[in-house]
Assembly symmetry: C2
Homo-oligomer: 496 residues x 2
Amino acid sequence: MLENIDLGKTISEEDFDSVNPELEARLARCQRAARELKIPVIILFDGWDAAGKGNAINALAQVLDPRGFKVRSFVRSTAVERMWPWMWRYWQVLPAAGGWAIFDRSWYDRALFDKVGNGKGASPPRAVEDIRDIEHHLVESGAVLIKFWLHIDKKEQRKRFRRLKENESTAWKVTPDSRRQNRHYEEWLAATDAMLEATSTATTPCTVVEATERRYVRFKVLETIVEAVEREIKRRRTIPALLCRPMPEPDAETLARKTLLDQVDLNRKLEAAEYRDRLGRLQARLFELEHELYVARVPAVIIYEGWDAGGKGGNIRRLTRALDPRGYEVVPVGPPTEEEKSRPYLWRFWRAVPKAGHIAIFDRSWYGRVLVERVEGYCSDHDWQRAYGEINEFERQLADFGAVIVKFWLHIDRAEQLRRFEARQGNPEKQWKITEEDWRNREKWDLYRVALDDMIAQTSTARAPWTIIEANDKLHARIKALQTVADSLGQRLRRQ
Amino acid sequence: MLENIDLGKTISEEDFDSVNPELEARLARCQRAARELKIPVIILFDGWDAAGKGNAINALAQVLDPRGFKVRSFVRSTAVERMWPWMWRYWQVLPAAGGWAIFDRSWYDRALFDKVGNGKGASPPRAVEDIRDIEHHLVESGAVLIKFWLHIDKKEQRKRFRRLKENESTAWKVTPDSRRQNRHYEEWLAATDAMLEATSTATTPCTVVEATERRYVRFKVLETIVEAVEREIKRRRTIPALLCRPMPEPDAETLARKTLLDQVDLNRKLEAAEYRDRLGRLQARLFELEHELYVARVPAVIIYEGWDAGGKGGNIRRLTRALDPRGYEVVPVGPPTEEEKSRPYLWRFWRAVPKAGHIAIFDRSWYGRVLVERVEGYCSDHDWQRAYGEINEFERQLADFGAVIVKFWLHIDRAEQLRRFEARQGNPEKQWKITEEDWRNREKWDLYRVALDDMIAQTSTARAPWTIIEANDKLHARIKALQTVADSLGQRLRRQ
């Protein structure tokens, strides 16, 4: 992508002055329309040290309404940030619908620095996939993503460093890392070219800006942004929004099909004495494992999904009783808040990713997208269909970071669910647990059955397998869950 | 508070077993009722090293529903955290309404460590006031705040350190800081006693727990929590909620009273040529000052308040055009989101506090509490009345951290406002700026006049003075605002 760039490109002052006012007016209209249509705009500025990122951002900021954008500067990652997957810090600052985020250095800078800069060794193992995943997720979620690479050649960079060093107030900008970049310019060039190439797709193109002349940079950056945002605005105004509709009744054939869950032996039981004995031993083991995780800085993600009244709460409690509360967090997942709805779907889960050495226990999870949201039509067909892939990618990134991932489906049959619902309704201490919605969900058992079967087929992976828990007998279910957690953690720790 | 503590207190196993099941059942009911009544519960565990905070938190966590609480562990502050006022990290993690937060070490630990521990010198200058302020704000906002100090004597502490060191898996818990605490036990005792004394009030009492026997700790902690939460639940269920009502029409006498704002000379004007000249020079100066702030690590808070159509947007834009966008953030303040409403009022502003060396520009601010919320009755009389004090305390904490605080009121008269409203309505590019609400607010001019007069009288302080900007002439208004910012920053930097 960088081989045939004409770095001599310029724009004359007259030409600039004749097009610029109109460009600025269009940009202001873009910002208002994006706010109105709730389109988030994300602009990445990467490029060679001293290529003029700061100037380009300044120029842009002067035209935009300052109440509608945020500049996010990413310096090299801190020790605290390295306690999370490398994409974590970018996820934190994604703009809400209608907001603009300007990234002063982005994931490209981090990935390249780790690859060819001084960060060698600390690099994310699959940076290109991770970048493709987040960019794809952003664009699919309706964001306009604009990526700039500000390009200058080796000689120009050296000249700029010299000029910066002449002035006391700018000399600090030339760091040992910058000088090293110039010395290894060719190596950087090759790596950059490969990375931009590998991450440029039709929907996530990168714009290489010939950055020798400052005025030209300003012109090209503004023009690129205006055209990209106008295109999306036009698309939104002409193409109807995707339909959200409840899941249709499955046909007879689909209903009759045996699923994996139909083969589960729900008669499995445990005697109380054996339960007490095993529970005590497992809890003691888990307490030790939690400490070992902490020392080894291994994070763990434990997901509980299951039928209403499947026993998630009681099961989680048996697990947490084994643990030191300073090492785990239970994350209850309900309907998204307004703030969460105005971000890409996975945003709220990225915010809850555990840090190295800690355990996050999800009481329901991102799988809501392909269960309740699909069944009730809270999202479009396109949204839940693409979610399988997004979820697999998300879990892959967690696994790459070293996380243990355990996913439970607490399975009961319809008759057992009815028994539990009725028992709850009859018990004044437990009535609060049962709502109208639970009864409504029960009516949709067959729809969930189909959605579940798809979910398990699409998202069982070696790094994040589903464990089906036979949960008609609560004692069996608890022991199986705790045993699975203990085995998974133990296995992972032995690999350290 | 610590002199007459009987550290020999114990509870027999039989007594414990006879009261504990009932205590646990009450605690579970407390948690459900608190969720239902939307009462946040904040529990602080501080105490001597090795006094058993971890055990107490463990015991508590085993009884609570793990989906309803979070444990927040505070280790000694990191370099990143020290870029914000010391209370900042506690504000970030306040629970939402109905949630429980358990602090494993709190602001007491930090303040004491900085005072008598190894953190000497880095200490917050007015820790006691800061603690009293946050605790008062929490309780006034409807939280139950429970504070524990786990107490053991010097000999017992030494004994525990010895025992911890005997075991390989616990030896790491005895740090050089712990040993130093034991050596300087008496100094710590005196400082702790003074601090607990100074921060214990009728509504924010501290419970000293005689922590020699683990079982007794468990009993006393549970009992204290249950009683405190039950008390608040009962209060909520019996005492009617405070009334929220729109501000009543002021009486004739109040209306006739000349206010400070009536004396403002709205005829002040600036010629275009002088404006351009001064603007250019001021912007150049501000660009330098921003850099100097950054180098000196001084944060700045600039607040824009003013009448609708007072010219805030254009004024802010003239300021931000002078600045490098990587050094400032504009924070537009609108109606609070659901998440913000479920926290103490100042929570969302604490989240937006700029870090050292950065500038936050607030487009509307915390003063909404005593303006729109008071006038429209979005909060109770008690809420806005106490807000003056809370705001002054908040700004004092910012000032203690070294922040420059500049507060603008953009003042126009009613006739000028009408002219601007009509001009906006007549201009297709500006129609979006004017809403029904603006017209409704205009009807309440007299109410705002009274609220404003109170606001300025109650919240003008030497460290955070109000600057009234005569804004009928936009050019004058912009220059005065930029000049004020430049003077304030310059003055502060000369003090460095």
